[in-house]
């Protein structure tokens, strides 16, 4: 998120459509992964893969569709702050329940 990014021109209609196609393809890959795992057990590899793919979609929508790439870095900091806070707090809560399940 440099200052050049801030002044970079916004995407054109064509570029928006291309971004949407990429998002659609990634979604298709996700669904495919789900069925591949049903057919041949992926030994737990499907989980991380799915999370990485959905995080990719998450970042693309925020960065391009929500224009965060083109905004002042301050906004990204707040937004990332809320996201990371949620991730760490709820991570601890969910984690404590999982540990509880294991030790129970």
């Amino acid at each position: 998120m440099t200052d050049e990014a801030h002044h970079a021109p916004h995407p054109t209609t064509g570029q928006y459509v291309k971004i949407a196609i990429v998002l659609a393809v990634v979604t298709a890959v996700e669904v495919a992964l789900f069925y591949i795992d049903e057919a041949v057990d992926m030994a737990g590899w499907d989980g991380p893969l799915l999370i990485i793919l959905s995080f990719f979609k998450f970042v693309v929508v925020i960065g391009w569709f929500m224009h965060l790439r083109f905004e002042k870095p301050l906004l990204s900091r707040f937004f990332a702050g809320g996201f990371i806070l949620a991730l760490s707090l709820y991570g601890i809560v969910v984690g404590s329940f999982l540990v509880g399940l294991i030790t129970r």
């Binding site: 809320g82 806070l85 707090l89 809560v93 404590s96 329940f97 540990v99 509880g100 030790t103």
Partner: protein
């Protein structure tokens, strides 16, 4: 743009009287009026919460008290907590923030004046909704405990016994449908939900105001500490309120729609409620204390006639407290089934909170050290704050030691601790602020003799009330229990506590008399009664409704003080001129650029939109009948309809200089 007028000429400082009368208060978007309304409403609830506390103390004055039934006792301590936290300390802090934030950053209003009005009306209606439980609430005997002595018999339900009785934390499943049937707890859950919406809106508003509305030259590290604390509190609210919103929804759904989140009998896990509640609840205690810390950081330097020692350290310590405050919630849950590793981790993180808090305490002490202290009423309250908060803080550290905490959990030691930080802390700080900024509000001084009387009565009463609770707690007197046996020997100290509680009440009466008397008959304050340091004192008292006739241009921290004083060769402060002269000269030296005054238009939509929410809440409680469904529909139509009306209301200038925004937007696209 209808409210646009040219800058008033030198002789006429009053604009046409479009700003008075009943409707001006209903439709106002003026941050000062909103702040005043917040303040008075909060004080009414302070009195109610105080009376509830007195009832509790009468019951506990001697062993085997029979003044209240067990049901009434449960309801009283629950509503006392809910009232003092959500209906007094939070809104009175909001009152200070509303009134002072624009004045201290040099703006004519907050960033979103209509949203500011909206959050006030939502708060008021939420508070009224919560207390309407007294007319509508009912309690029926919990399953399987009918006929237990002292418990509720529906035929004998008293007025007070029909109030929410699940504690301010509304622990589940005790506050769930099985153990708290009836509607009383629903009012608490839904009322807090509405109050949370109000706070969320004002938090966004205050953050944007601090970031975007500062006067020229008011850089972040030149802002008064109170504004910094406002910013920190706004962020705490922003990130903690959504958590409690979900928890409250889950609790409401359990009660109203039969979900099984916290119902152990249906597979739910009550510990999840504790996590979600304290994820919010711990940041909440900093939401309660940080505004008071900000007030004290303004008062101490003024009356010590020294700059605040370690300004930046105090600011960053405030931020540090907020940040760490999100990582310590489980220390409220040491007595629940946490793993030893989690207990150790949360014990450690709790101890680290003492570091930024200690930084603040030492900086306040260093501010007073070597100063020529004037022991005025606000100063006495501020010093009282520091002393009492240290005691409360130290007993707090003892809770971070897990085995020690197990001993203290649910005893009066805990009650003593949090009253030392919330009453000795927050409320002493709030009174310091009320005495200090009273001239800003009214143009008159509060009576000093009465003020000092109030302070000493309250100070002695406070310590008589809460210090013995430490000893009672360590001797094993448990909280939330309506009676104790004579053999326990808790009687004498409990009597002392009760006497202390009534002493506090006497102090508050003195304050109320002082306030009403001084409003009419107090000595006129003039421009700068305290020899203050911050720019809200550069404008006349009481504050004109446009705040600053000319936009201030700030060149330093403690800007007003630097306008008044020079340094001599030996580094001593030398007074330049009296404040009125200096302020009068501002117009001529070009420091304050002239600008036309734009004030936002009043609007009907905030109060309308807020009115829809309690209707929806009533509807949820009575959703099984047709009336309830109708109420939900009507409430939704009112709220969404006024949202649309709001959106289509002609665009108005949000603040002075706001006309530039259209251009900026054009550039941004």
């Amino acid at each position: 743009m209808t409210a646009t007028a040219e800058r008033p000429s030198k002789t006429i400082f009053r604009r046409p009287e479009t700003t008075e009368g009943f409707w001006s208060w209903i439709t106002t978007v003026d941050h000062k009026k909103i702040g005043i309304m917040y303040g008075y409403a909060a004080f009414v609830f302070f009195i109610i919460g105080g009376l509830e506390a007195l009832l509790l103390r009468i019951q506990l004055a001697g062993p085997n008290g029979d003044f209240l039934t067990a049901a009434e006792y449960n309801a009283m301590f629950s509503t006392h907590g809910l009232t003092m936290i959500f209906l007094f300390v939070m809104p009175v802090s909001a009152a200070f923030m509303n009134y002072l934030l624009p004045l201290m950053v040099g703006a004519r209003d907050v960033a979103f004046p209509r949203m500011n009005a909206l959050s006030w009306w939502i708060f008021l209606f939420g508070a009224l909704f919560t207390y309407s439980v007294i007319f509508f609430g009912d309690v029926t005997p919990p399953l399987g405990v009918e006929g237990v002595p002292g418990n509720i018999d529906p035929s004998e339900q008293t007025l007070l016994g029909g109030l929410p009785d699940g504690g301010w934390f509304l622990y589940q499943p005790n506050a769930g449908p099985d153990f708290s049937p009836g509607t009383a707890v629903d009012f608490a859950l839904l009322g807090l939900q509405i109050l949370g919406i109000a706070s969320l809106i004002s938090s966004v508003n205050f953050i944007v105001t601090v970031f975007n509305m500062r006067a020229k030259g008011m850089r972040l590290l030149r802002m008064p500490v109170f504004i910094w604390m406002t910013l920190v509190v706004a962020f705490l609210l922003l990130f903690s309120l959504p958590i409690i919103a979900v928890a409250l929804f889950m609790g409401t759904f359990d009660r109203a729609f039969g979900t099984l989140f916290f119902q152990a009998a249906g597979g739910g896990d009550p510990i999840l409620w504790q996590h979600l509640f304290w994820l919010f609840g711990h940041p909440e205690v900093y939401i309660l204390i940080l505004p008071a810390m900000g007030i004290v950081s303004e008062v101490l330097p003024v009356f010590s006639r020294k700059p605040l020692f370690g300004y930046a350290a105090i600011v960053f310590a405030g931020g540090g407290i907020a940040f760490l405050g999100f990582g310590v919630w489980a220390h409220h849950m040491f007595a629940s089934a946490l793993t030893p590793v989690a207990q150790a981790a949360f014990g450690l993180s709790t101890m680290t909170i003492a570091i930024p808090t200690g930084i603040k305490i030492f900086n306040w002490l260093a501010t007073m050290w070597g100063g020529r202290i004037r022991f005025t009423t606000p100063m006495l309250f501020a010093i009282g704050f520091v002393a009492m908060f240290v005691i409360g803080g130290l007993s707090g550290v003892t809770h971070s030691v897990v085995p020690s905490d197990w001993q203290q959990t649910d005893t009066y030691y805990i009650v003593a601790h949090f009253h030392y930080v919330l009453f000795g802390g927050s409320i002493f700080g709030i009174f310091a602020g009320l005495y200090y900024w009273f001239p800003k509000l009214t143009g008159r001084m509060m009576n000093e003799a009465l003020g000092k009387t109030h302070f000493w009565i309250q100070f002695i009463g406070f310590n008589l009330t809460f210090a013995p609770m430490h000893w009672l707690g360590l001797q094993g007197m448990v909280r939330r229990t309506w009676r104790y046996a004579p053999e326990t020997n808790f009687g004498p100290w409990n009597l002392a506590v009760t006497i202390g509680a009534f002493t506090i009440a006497l102090g508050i009466l003195v304050f109320m008399f002082n306030w009403t008397w001084s409003k009419r008959k107090g000595v006129p304050s003039g421009l700068d009664p305290w020899d203050a340091r911050t720019i809200e004192w550069t404008i006349p008292n009481p504050t004109p409704h446009y705040n600053f006739a000319d936009n201030p241009h700030v060149t330093s921290l403690d800007h007003f003080w630097h306008m008044k004083y020079d340094e001599d060769d030996e580094g001593r402060a030398v007074r330049k001129d009296n404040a009125d002269e200096i302020v009068a000269q501002l117009d001529y030296d070009g420091k304050n650029p002239k600008a036309p005054i734009h004030l936002p238009n009043p609007s009907y939509f905030p109060i309308l939109m807020a009115a829809g929410l309690p209707l929806i809440a009533y509807g949820i409680i009575y959703h099984q009948g047709l009336a309830g469904k109708l109420l939900i529909a009507i409430g939704a139509v009112i709220t969404i309809g006024s949202l649309l009306g709001w959106g289509m209301e002609p665009l108005e200038e949000p603040h002075d200089g706001g006309g530039d925004h259209a251009e900026e937007m054009a550039e941004a696209h």
